[in-house]
Amino acid sequence: MDLFDKLRILSDAAKYDAACTSSGVDRDGKGGQLGNAAACGICHSFSADGRCVSLLKVLMSNACIYNCAYCLNRVSNDVPRATFAPRELADLTIHFYRRNYIEGLFLSSGVVKSPDYTCEKMIETLRILREEYGFRGYIHAKAIPGADDLLLNRLGRLSDRMSVNIELPSQQSLDKLAPDKSKSAILRPMGLLRDGIKENCTDLIRYRHAEPFAPAGQSTQMIVGATPESDYQILQLTAALYQKFSLKRVFFSAYIPVSDNPLLPARTISPPLLREHRLYQADWLLRFYGFSANEILDEKHPILNPLIDPKCNWAINNMALFPVEVNTAPRELLLRVPGIGVNSTMRILRARRETKLDFSGLRRIGVVLKRAQYFITCQGKTAQGVRITPDNALNALISDSQKQRLPSQNYEQLSLFSDQITREDVVKCISGQI
């Protein structure tokens, strides 16, 4: 089998891993070595599906002893199998890296023979890269659940980011679809990584030459839409992962039908891309906007609104807090205004030290007034010609592409007569029940 076939088979098998980030670690180049890493992360290309290509994302091998129903590489699936030799993969990485095709390597693997054996092969590849080639670029390695702690530790010393995929959002789903994996087998390496990273942080302060351990932290991924969990459950789990395991990122991957297993959704359904998108928006709210999972969804409303993004949804449900005065509002409240993001908030805070802000100034700052004008005042005034009512606001918050999905006559009738629009009203109006 030539290198072309190997690369094609092993990248094709790795493509369902969503994480392709190269962020979180700043490392300068060094004489006699190759490469550096930038904390902001650098994407090098964008594939036909619009996802970034930052790292050479491949499997060490797609031969696997497990039989997880949702996975393309399960042992019972009849697909061509291939395995990289460690040196072959290291050489390929260096050649791609020098041509500025990639930022580094994302190495995952099916479980060949045993978790320990697989892990050793991965370590050998990374060792060649780091020690023989003096490679200082980015390496993301997947922890193989079930591998020995010492091997996991060695892997962590060689890579920048580690990840363990949680795969499915609940124990029941795991039992059903991935009978060889259990929640504890997944959470255990995650805990080990967390402790390793934490310990390493203090070591680095204490000893000048302490070897870094996964300096860019750890991430995880879960599949959305293969099992019946609600958005509420998924967000609760996500928030818990950030808090308890200090993860850097949680990735969501819309389930793409790969098999005819009766336990899985039918092969004909298209992947729930909009749902995945809304989950990412909610994830951003958790990480950068100071929201808690309970503010975004609760038990009574377990599904993210497909028509408007979660931040707008929250604002519509909390119209009583608005409008806020841009010139005096605290940072936390500015962040919650639809149309004002993290950067605009920073710039508003900076600009208002020197000047009184007005609407044209806000536009220059980069605030999206189309949405924000329903939630703010400038020097006590609302924007010219704007009537602040929940339905006007809602109208402005629904993006054009989502508007096309609405039946137009129903949408004209939006609860004009009630003073305070409730969440149920919105949902009913939109779904055409009123």
């Binding site: 089998m1 030539d2 290198l3 072309f4 076939d5 690369l7 990248s11 094709d12 790795a14 493509k15 369902y16 300068d28 180049g29 060094k30 004489g31 006699g32 070595q33 190759l34 490469g35 550096n36 650098i42 994407c43 090098h44 290309s45 964008f46 594939s47 036909a48 599906d49 619009g50 996802r51 970034c52 290509v53 050479l56 994302k57 061509p80 072959e88 050489d91 390929l92 050649h95 791609f96 020098r98 041509r99 500025n100 095709y101 819309a254 793409i256 298209s270 891309l273 710039r347 900076r350 600009a351 030290r353 020197e354 000047t355 802000l357 007005d358 044209s360 100034g361 220059r364 700052i365």
Partner: protein, 277 residues
């Protein structure tokens, strides 16, 4: 003290030359109608005045901006000079005048039209520079690595530290086709010099091999069920495609790649030396 006049300042196109124009403007207390570099000047009815580049004056202006206004303002001015704003010199002059008037607060006047226009231009430069950290593609030849780019802004000074740091021991050049200048890195030194024209050499077998390999990877990594060309173009605008290996594969290379795809049954022997390299 800042009077509009109908004079056009002509300078040699260098940053020091521009700073000398700024000095002249402060000296005569006048705001010229325009400031243009000699190679982009066009015949005009306005009176033109040649401003000689004076290193000492330039240094005085540079120090003045750093000390009397702020380091951030100096950063905006040096970077602003590399942007593709159609009237960057005049914009910068207005900004410097405003800066000396208002002091270090000037960078916080985000809503002021001049400051806003300058910050926006610099932001464009920064964004484009970042995109070039991503989209520069090197080809390897006997002597070293070569890349050609066609940016709108002068990105070479901004991207140089990154690539020189990354490819610490490599000999490489990046040719900016728009502004006809080239970044040359010959460890441990690097420089940006003007170069009228540059012809890329023919790719050899090894280079062609890795280009195709990269193309194979690029095609394999896309998920068919999620194809989204609009999203791809938002992140990677089409004007960058021209010099990107994976978007540039000639039809011949493409058929070669697809022929390989079908060759699983009957594998074509590959040059062994490439694999063992």
């Amino acid at each position: 003290m800042y009077q509009r006049s109908d004079i056009i300042y002509l300078y040699d196109g260098s940053f020091e030359g521009f700073l000398s124009c700024v000095f002249e403007s402060f000296l005569c207390k006048q705001r010229p109608y325009d400031i243009v570099s000699e190679d982009s000047s066009e015949p005009s009815l306005m009176a033109q005045q040649w401003i000689e580049t004076d290193m000492q004056r330039a240094q005085r202006v540079r120090n003045g901006i750093g000390k009397k206004i702020s380091e951030e303002a100096l950063y905006l001015v040096t970077n602003g000079f590399c942007t593709c704003h159609p009237q960057r010199e005049l914009l910068l002059l207005d900004f410097i005048h405003l800066g000396f008037e208002r002091g270090k607060k000037v960078c916080e006047l985000i809503t002021d039209p001049t400051v806003h226009a300058l910050q926006k231009a610099v932001l464009f430069l920064k964004r484009e520079s970042h995109l070039y950290l991503e989209f520069v593609r090197f080809s390897e030849y006997d002597k070293g690595l070569v890349s050609v780019i066609e940016p709108k802004n002068r990105v070479l000074p901004t991207i140089a530290p990154h690539f020189c740091d990354r490819l610490h021991n490599e000999l490489f050049i990046i040719y900016d086709k728009t502004h006809r200048s080239v970044l040359i890195h010959k460890p441990p030194k690097w420089a940006i010099v003007d170069l009228e024209d540059f012809i890329e050499p023919q790719a050899d077998e090894t280079e062609q091999f890795y280009r195709e390999l990269w193309g194979t990877y690029f095609d394999a990594i896309a998920i068919r069920e999620r194809i989204n060309p609009r999203c791809q173009m938002t992140h990677m605008p089409k004007r960058y495609w021209k010099h990107m290996t994976e978007m540039q594969r000639r039809p011949a290379a493409k058929t070669a790649a697809s022929a390989r795809t079908e060759s699983t049954v009957n594998p074509v022997p590959l040059p062994e030396r490439m694999l063992s390299e």
